[in-house]
Symmetry: C2
Subunit: 119 residues, 2 copies
């Protein structure tokens, strides 16, 4: 057995006909909010710029909402920011994910506790 | 927006210092129970036999339990079956996963419902 105690790890994603939102897009949105640039956000995640565009576009398509305002060019080379809807979606996802993970800890103890004690 | 309504998709895994149990191992155990062979179980999942061995070994190491009895050779070319502990682990995981997914539906409606109605 490894050195670290057995624990659950939960991944929460949203789907329509295909995946449209998950931890990766959430991370990208948080970085766009901080760095005001899709390119800088992608670099910070070591994600290809084209991949960042793709997951953002898929998220917007799936949710039917514009999540990011990206201004191309201009004096400061453009910049990106979350829309009001983007901010609400990110907050909803973070709340959903946090509550789900907390509940997973409880559920894990209930289902696996007795079994692990018997080992 | 896609044709299918937005919905959550949850993946539940167990970790020690690294991943040791998840949907893949659970699927493998169910097939071993049905097919009485690790090789047939792996083939049925289109998984390489070596990969099946690896994820099973990682699961047993992480949980500190023997999950599968594999008899090599013999008149019928060996065979594999779940141990009593393997059966209990699989049942615990399935219960954990099912309850978590049901709760995720509730949580999703609570966090995303208002936001989606506003679209």
């Amino acid at each position: 057995m490894g050195e670290i105690r057995l624990h659950p790890g939960i991944t929460a994603r949203l789907y329509t006909d295909k995946k449209c939102f998950g931890p990766g897009v959430a991370m990208l949105l948080r970085r766009i909010d901080r760095l005001h640039s899709l390119r800088a956000a992608a670099q910070d995640m070591e994600m290809a710029y084209s991949k960042a565009w793709t997951i953002l576009r898929e998220a917007e398509r799936g949710l039917g909402m514009k999540l990011v305002d990206a201004a191309a060019g201009g004096r400061n080379g453009g910049g990106a920011s979350l829309t009001a809807e983007g901010r609400r979606v990110l907050a909803a996802y973070e709340g959903f994910e946090a509550e789900l993970k907390a509940y997973a800890e409880e559920l894990f103890a209930r289902h696996f506790g007795p079994l692990l004690d018997d080992r």
